[in-house]
């Protein structure tokens, strides 16, 4: 039992269940299956984005441009849909994934070929993609009445009790889990982040692993772009502002180490669900929605503290005083 509790993912799952039960005391309908489905559906986009971010963080990088990627792709797809009503939805989704992957590839190329630190690259592309979204749309919005019925309706269609949006999230979870556990690329991301020098000596191309991680993150951001504009039925320049930080927060809460090489898919999903439960619970228990940002911040800080305690390695002992029983480490 102790060992189960020590497992970080188990602990996080337990905390989420305790939170849900706690909120149920204030609002009796909170733990209803309907409400739980709603929470999962609301969090689906964050789960998809967080999984992409997770793969990037595993390789010792970070992708701060996912929200801008989402915004540009969402705007592009929405504009295409309103301008060419005849385009099939499947094609639009593929275009969204393609554009997202291309934007991610630009990030990856700059990190791989020019060896620019990922934080600088994504800081730059963050503003560039957001600006491109403005240039593309001219500042205009794409409203719900300009979008086709199946563009808006398909993700909301309930299948076996869950909307298709939730099924997409589940599919992405399974896909990313498979990639990380069963493909060479997936294993190489852990190596590239855990110990890049050793990975190079072992024959793994760390730069290529980073590049592919960025492409994957971009593709998932592109998919999320379509899902976002479809879910909220509107597309404008500022959508998903600040969402990249939510994706990083979900990863950190889920136990992904920012130094790379440590983390699981379950952890990321639980981290995203943690944020989703809190976000859904606030209006229900009567806390102002303006408090959400502050609570997110506190949660991130606590999660980082917790992560650090779990990962802490005992330093090299540089002085040992046996008589006093003391050791000095560095």
């Amino acid at each position: 039992m102790q060992k189960l509790l020590k497992n970080r993912e188990m602990l996080l799952g337990l905390i989420i269940i305790v939170m849900i039960l706690g909120f149920t005391t204030r609002a009796p309908n909170f733990a209803n299956p309907d409400n739980l489905v709603t929470i999962f559906n609301d969090t689906s986009i964050l789960i998809i984005l967080a999984l992409g971010q997770m793969v990037v963080i595993l390789t010792k990088s970070i992708d701060l441009s996912v929200a801008a990627n989402l915004a540009f792709t969402g705007m592009a797809v929405a504009m295409l849909d309103s301008a060419y009503p005849g385009l099939p939805l499947a094609l639009l989704v593929l275009i969204a994934i393609g554009i997202g992957a291309a934007l991610g590839a630009i990030n990856g190329f700059l990190v791989w070929a020019l060896q620019i630190p990922p934080i600088v690259v994504t800081l730059g592309t963050l503003t560039i993609y957001r600006g491109m979204s403005f240039v593309l749309s001219g500042g205009a919005w794409v409203n719900a009445h300009q979008m086709q019925p199946d563009f808006l309706g398909v993700p909301r269609l309930p299948v076996l009790g869950l909307p298709i949006l939730s099924w997409v999230a589940i599919a992405v979870i399974l896909l990313v889990g498979f990639i990380l556990a069963r493909t060479a690329f997936g294993r190489s991301t852990y190596a590239a982040g855990g110990n890049p020098v050793a990975a190079i000596y072992a024959g793994i191309d760390v730069g290529r692993a980073r590049f592919l991680a960025f492409v994957l993150s971009g593709a998932l951001a592109g998919l999320s772009g379509y899902l976002w504009v479809s879910r909220y039925a509107v597309a404008y320049v500022d959508i998903a502002a600040g969402f990249e930080l939510d994706s990083v927060a979900a990863c950190v809460i889920g136990g992904i180490s920012i130094a790379g090489g440590i983390g699981t898919v379950i952890g990321t999903v639980l981290g995203a669900l943690f944020l989703g439960v809190i976000k859904n619970a606030l209006p229900v228990i009567g806390i102002s929605p303006f408090a959400q940002m502050a609570i997110s911040g506190i949660v991130i800080v606590l999660a980082v503290v917790f992560n650090a305690r779990a990962e802490a390695k005992k330093g090299r002992i540089i002085l040992r005083d046996r008589a006093a029983g003391k050791e000095v480490t560095a």
């Binding site: 970070i62 700059l110 020019l114 060896q115 620019i116 630190p117 934080i119 600088v120 690259v121 800081l123 730059g124 592309t125 963050l126 503003t127 560039i128 957001r130 600006g131 491109m132 403005f134 240039v135 500042g139 320049v237 930080l245 990083v248 927060a249 950190v252 920012i258 130094a259 102002s288 303006f290 408090a291 959400q292 940002m293 502050a294 609570i295 997110s296 911040g297 506190i298 949660v299 991130i300 800080v301 999660a303 980082v304 503290v305 650090a308 560095a330």
Partner: protein, 335 residues
């Protein structure tokens, strides 16, 4: 393996590279040439540019960010980063606004703004230096926390009733066209330049950035230095909050949104390596001018703000990429 073993010819030059030659090839000089080029381009592009009052207005674009950039430069040289600076501005501004509603006078408001900045900086410092947490995620968290507190207090309202004397900091002029903010910027540039380049503390900052373990074994109090650096960043954010709030005359929770990225851009543009260990204050000063000139010039041409940020993003990536690309071309040519 990708590294090829190069056969380099031993070339013994007739004359050794003089310090002057090395200076000519330095980042700061390159950046200065870019600044001059942009200045010339701006004056050709718009007839309104070469006007003393307009140029003075242009300085407001970058002085507040540059104040923070000086402290951020020291922090980045030491190998950490603080993404919560804009949120500290928001929180300090909210605190000042709240106090202004209660009728506190201008000196009190300044004190409150600076103290809030220091307190936030101390919080960051405790988490990063005290608990040894990675600064990037910690400051992402505190960024949400500080701005979140601002949103909690203000919601979608704004504080507006500031005393008239308070406007001097952001809108006042010391003599002729030279504004108080610009004078403050120059004074801080001098102080930080001395701190980084002429004191032991500055040397410690460089060592910690280059080799933290060697720094610790050399007896440098690494945690204390990092804590002081975070305090400094908080302090400068507080001062910038005073200037910005005084200039705008009002406070919204969304004040200074996105400024943390612009400050980091200014620092990296100034030649400070994001990985730590190198950089100069002179570079940051020139980078501040470059960004201010670009922003102001584009503004005169009626370019919307969000398109301007595309240019800033491109500027950041190109300035980092250019030395790497030229070095590659040089290697390819020599091989």
């Amino acid at each position: 393996m990708s590294t090829a073993i190069e056969q380099t010819k031993r070339v013994i030059p007739d004359r050794l590279e003089t310090p002057f030659r090395r200076l000519l090839g330095s980042w700061e000089v390159l950046l200065f040439c870019v600044a001059v080029a942009i200045f010339i381009a701006n004056s050709l592009a718009s007839p309104y540019f070469l006007n003393a009052w307009n140029l003075s207005d242009a300085t407001f674009n970058f002085t507040e960010k540059a104040l923070i950039a000086f402290a951020m430069a020291l922090l980045i040289i030491a190998g950490e980063i603080d993404l919560s600076v804009a949120a500290i501005i928001a929180l300090a501004s909210t605190a000042m606004g709240y106090a202004a509603q209660l009728g506190v006078g201008a000196p009190g408001l300044v004190a409150i703004g600076i103290t809030t900045g220091l307190a936030c900086g101390a919080f960051n410092g405790l988490l990063v230096a005290g608990l040894k947490l990675p600064s990037i995620v910690v400051t992402i968290g505190t960024m949400s926390l500080f701005r979140g507190i601002s949103y909690l207090v203000l919601g979608d309202q704004a504080f507006g009733k500031y005393p008239p004397e308070f406007a001097f900091f952001g809108q006042g002029y010391v003599f002729w066209v030279v504004s108080f903010e610009f004078v403050l910027f120059l004074v801080m540039a001098l102080l930080f330049g001395i701190l980084l380049h002429r004191t032991n503390f500055g040397r410690h900052v460089y060592v910690i950035g280059n080799n933290p373990l060697a720094a610790r074994f050399s007896g440098i109090p690494v945690e204390r230095v990092k804590f002081i650096l975070f305090l400094l960043t908080g302090l400068m954010s507080g001062i910038a909050a005073v200037c910005l709030t005084s200039r705008l005359g009002s406070t919204r929770p969304s004040i200074a949104q996105g400024w943390e990225l612009e400050v980091v851009t200014m620092v990296v543009l100034g030649g400070v390596s994001i990985l730590g260990g190198s950089g100069t204050i002179v570079g940051v000063v020139i980078a501040a001018f470059v960004m201010g000139l670009v922003t102001f010039g584009l503004g005169l041409l009626n370019v919307p703000g969000i398109v301007m940020s595309i240019f800033i993003g491109l500027l950041l990536i190109i300035t980092i990429a250019l030395p790497i690309v030229t070095r590659r071309i040089k290697h390819a040519r020599n091989a």
